[in-house]
């Protein structure tokens, strides 16, 4: 067990290293650099800035410096937010994204499991058709449309009531979080609903359910112990990557609802070629994703006794 975890961790570190290296060289091969600005610079100013940020070194040297700093957990200072360390940016803004993400995942998971079970139970009947229609909508309508529409509805809702019940944008109270989290979790919820439904149907036609039924086990017990519990496994498998994807993919929602999360920095850094922030956020998100996958794999061993974690 322990050696399995260790092995996975080493693999994970290698993966992150690979992500970091690929990003580093891709980033340096894009035309322009962080210093490029609307107002053209004199050669001297540029040379001074390059020296200040170490951009005058060859790329391989910069790469080695980056690796050395990375091993100490230091991503350097942002090029754009000139007085802020990348670590500070991550520390201040990731919690916001994480809270939003966790809330979204919880919405998605609860909704997905409940709706999935419901559709499976009422297969080919009205609740099934209705929910599956919404699921297809949820998967196919992009989040910026949903975000904008839900914001519009909020405005209409507040206008109807006469004062601001649920804030239209911003961050701070739980009321600020509800709608963005739902919007963010929507497509995952739709995906999980479908997954839960098909997995439920598979379990329903399995031998052990039939056996339990023929043994005269009470219906609620069959439903919860035999069906739900087994059907939920695939959902848990995708939950880990889903948490990472939701937490890192909230850029559009963060933009529309003016939420000070890390997603905004992640995307803007790429547009502004802010080298240090690009590397910091990419490595951080990459490590986060890899870590979540490992955790899920380990947890899987506990939930499903059939899975043995061996080296």
């Amino acid at each position: 067990m322990l050696s399995y975890i260790l092995k996975r961790l080493v693999q994970g570190i290698l993966t992150v290293w690979f992500i970091a290296t690929a990003t580093f060289f891709a980033m340096h091969n894009v035309p322009g650099d962080p210093l490029t600005n609307d107002r053209a610079m004199t050669d001297t100013t540029r040379a001074n800035l390059e020296a200040k940020y170490g951009l005058d070194q060859p790329t391989t040297t910069q790469y080695l410096i980056f690796l050395r700093n990375l091993s100490q957990g230091d991503f350097g200072i942002s090029f754009v937010q000139e007085n802020r360390e990348v670590n500070d940016i991550i520390r201040e803004h990731f919690p916001v994204s994480a809270i939003l993400g966790v809330l979204a995942v919880i919405f998605a998971a609860t909704g997905g499991v409940l709706f999935g079970a419901l559709t499976a139970l009422y297969r080919n009947r009205l609740p099934d058709y209705l929910i599956m229609f919404l699921v297809i909508m949820g998967i196919s309508v992009p989040s910026f449309v949903v975000a904008a529409l839900s914001q519009l509805s909020l405005v209409a809702f507040n206008n109807l009531i006469g004062f601001t019940v649920i804030p239209v944008a911003g961050w701070g109270t739980i009321l600020h979080m509800l709608v963005p989290a739902m919007v963010l979790g929507l497509s995952t919820m739709a995906y999980l609903t479908r997954l839960m439904r098909s997995s439920m149907l598979e379990v329903t036609s399995s031998d052990y359910v039939r056996t339990a039924k023929s043994k005269g086990v009470p219906a609620t017990r069959i439903f919860t112990r035999h069906q739900l519990r087994n059907a939920i496994l695939p959902v848990i498998t995708v939950l880990g990557p889903a948490i990472a994807a939701i937490t890192t993919g909230g850029f559009v929602v963060e933009l529309v609802f003016a939420i000070p999360g890390l997603g905004r920095y992640f995307v803007e850094a790429v547009q502004q070629l802010d080298y240090t922030v690009i590397m910091g956020t990419t490595v951080f998100y990459g490590a986060f994703l890899v870590f979540m996958v490992i955790i899920v794999d380990v947890l899987y061993g506990f939930i499903d006794p059939r899975v043995r974690l061996e080296t």
Binding site: V30, P31, G32, T36, N37, D38, R39, A40, M41, T42, T44, T45, N48, K52, Q81, E82, N83, R84, H93, V96, I99, L103, I106, T110, L114, A117, L121, Y122, Q151, L152, L154, V155, N159, T164, P167, V168, A169, G170, W171, G172, T173, I174, H176, M177, T204, S205, V209, R210, K213, A219, T220, I222, F223, L255, V256, F257, A258, P260, Q271, Q272
Partner: protein, 570 residues
């Protein structure tokens, strides 16, 4: 028949019924658990970058709430280059001179000044104080300006100080910083020596790069000057008392500001939102959360439905097609450029393609809001009246083809930004030149920095480009196409242009100086250096209770310095 079991279970109504009830119970538990969890999150998340939500206008506390487009990268005026920093700094700091409500130059920290051919003198007022109560002195300007030109500071706006003696040489490391032509004669007299006559120097000192910095405070910040609210000293109408990065700011009335009777009437301005999403801003405005927002043309019907008073302003910038004049490019051929010039009309672009009611069709590099000797520059020096003429355009194209020795024209490269307006314009020109001239253009869409880098490298034939003003003088545009200007990314090079620009820079007689700009304008058209596209403007709405809010062409794009709440005009 091994799978009949499942069929039996599925059609068993009793099973579905009891399982359904069980599911409902689970749902109930889940919702209760969720509510408890959310409550827990609420407690944990209490201080994670919260934005205060209030109303757009709080009459009781005399405060307003606004949205910023971007987080200011930092508030070090000597190094700032972006619009958001300018907006914040224009409210919390003040230079020697400033702008009044009608964008006229008025005294700031300096109560009077004198500009001569060889230099300038500024007399500072007694009652200008830093936010810690220490008077603002001439030394603070000397320290600030020396810091800007110091190569170690690597300020990107150092060039704006080049009219000061030795500034350019110091900035390129040829002279020591001490040789900069500025000194504090006393605490209240600032003496400036010029490199060459600079009749527009008063307009320059209103720009934020020229704002003062106090040495002892700067040293105490240990390299974090302008990084946080407490890492900056203020001398403007407002004080920045709180800055939560990426989230909120709080500007509070400066009680010791000398001009508090004419400026800074609000007790508090909160920037509660930072978003570039214009739809989000519109929704916030609709919901009564922010006092103003600008509108794009698709939003105008909504705004009219709501019966909002829609206002317009020019944002100051001019957009144009810039040619690549480098030797290896066929756009170096003047007949080709003339053909393209004659084949297009900026009126059609603005009125039929972009359809932004606040945009003006481009007629010149010098936008309509600039002043000449005494009135509008465009009135005193009318731009050439451009007429689209496809037939003549084709004649010039044929001449160009012969001069270049081509059988047919290769596809040309049109470099464009990734904004919707830029794409729209690029596609319009692409089909226009194909239809009128049979010329093929390939559109190369690049994000901001990559477009700039490609411009610098000269990897284009035509680029959709633009320019916004730094200071309120024609020269902020006028020297763009001099052979020595690094901004001249198409490398246009003409000795006639250069000589007119020299006159425009240094001529002390206003009439002769403006005549030079008139010549520059003529030459830009005759030599087809650029093709003006449009002057950008904004439609915007303001809460009707907020009076004297301004959007500016020069200086901060939004200005609340003179704004006050009039609760009677609801």
């Amino acid at each position: 028949m091994s799978d009949t079991g499942s069929v039996v279970i599925e059609t068993d109504q009793g099973f579905i019924h009891s399982a359904g009830i069980q599911l409902a119970k689970f749902a109930g538990i889940a919702i209760a658990g969720l509510a408890a969890f959310i409550y827990l999150l609420w407690i944990i998340a209490g201080d994670a970058g919260s934005t205060t939500s209030g109303n757009a206008i709080d009459v009781e506390n005399n405060s307003i709430t606004i949205a910023l487009r971007e987080e200011p990268p930092q508030l070090d005026a000597n190094r700032a280059t972006d619009a958001s920093s300018l907006v914040v700094l224009a409210h919390v700091m003040e230079g020697l001179l400033g702008y009044d409500i009608d964008s006229q130059l008025v005294p700031g920290v300096a109560e009077r000044y004198e500009i001569r051919a060889d230099g300038a003198t500024f007399w500072l007022r007694e009652d200008a104080f830093w936010s810690d109560g220490v008077p603002v002195t001439a030394k603070d300007f000397v320290f600030s300006w020396k810091r800007v030109v110091n190569p170690e500071t690597a300020s990107q706006y150092a060039f704006i100080l080049y009219p000061i003696k030795n500034a350019e040489a110091i900035n390129s490391g040829e002279l020591p910083v001490e040789t900069l032509g500025v000194r504090a004669v006393s605490d209240r007299v600032l003496e400036v020596e010029f490199e060459r006559p600079t009749p527009y120097f008063d307009k320059l000192v209103a720009y934020l790069t020229y704002f003062p910095v106090r040495e002892d405070f700067f040293n105490s910040t240990e390299g974090r000057y302008g990084a946080d609210a407490d890492m900056l000293l203020y001398n403007g109408a407002y004080l920045l008392t709180e800055w939560v990065h990426g989230s909120t700011m709080r500007w509070v009335k400066n009680p010791s500001y000398w001009n508090r009777e004419n400026k800074g009437f609000l007790d508090e301005i909160r920037t509660a939102y930072i978003t570039q999403d214009i739809n989000a801003k519109l929704n916030l405005f609709k919901d009564g959360q922010i006092v103003d927002t600008h509108l794009l043309s698709p939003m105008l019907p909504t705004a009219m439905e709501q019966r909002w008073p829609i206002d317009r302003s020019m944002d100051g910038s001019v957009f144009y097609l810039e040619f690549n004049h480098r030797n290896d490019r066929i756009t170096r051929n003047k007949n080709l450029r003339r053909a393209l010039q004659l084949a297009q009309d900026s009126n059609e672009l603005v009125y039929k393609v972009l359809k932004e009611p606040s945009y003006l069709p481009g007629v010149s590099l010098f936008p309509a809001w600039l002043t000449g000797v005494s009135e509008s520059f465009q009135k005193e020096y009318p731009p050439v009246r451009h007429q689209m003429n496809v037939e003549k355009a084709r004649e010039h194209l044929e001449l160009a083809r012969q001069e270049l020795g081509l059988d047919e024209f290769p596809p040309l490269m049109m470099l464009a930004g990734d904004t919707p307006i830029s794409l729209l314009a690029a596609e319009y020109y692409q089909q226009l030149f194909r239809k009128n001239l049979g010329l093929e253009f390939r559109i190369d869409v690049q994000i901001f920095k990559q477009r700039l880098e490609k411009m610098r490298q000269g990897e284009f034939d035509i680029v959709l480009s633009g320019w916004g003003p730094d200071y309120n003088d024609v020269l902020t545009y006028g020297d763009l196409f001099s052979s020595w200007n690094l901004q001249n990314r198409g490398r246009y090079n003409s000795s006639e242009m250069d000589s007119w620009i020299r006159i425009a820079q240094s001529e002390l007689d206003p009439q002769k100086r403006m005549d030079a700009f008139g010549e520059i304008q003529r030459l830009l058209y005759e030599d087809v250096v650029i093709l003006p596209m449009y002057e950008r403007g904004f439609s915007f709405v303001v809460d009707s209770r907020l009076q004297d809010f301004r959007r500016r062409s020069v200086g901060p794009e939004v200005d609340y310095n003179y704004a006050y709440i009039d609760s009677s005009s609801d």
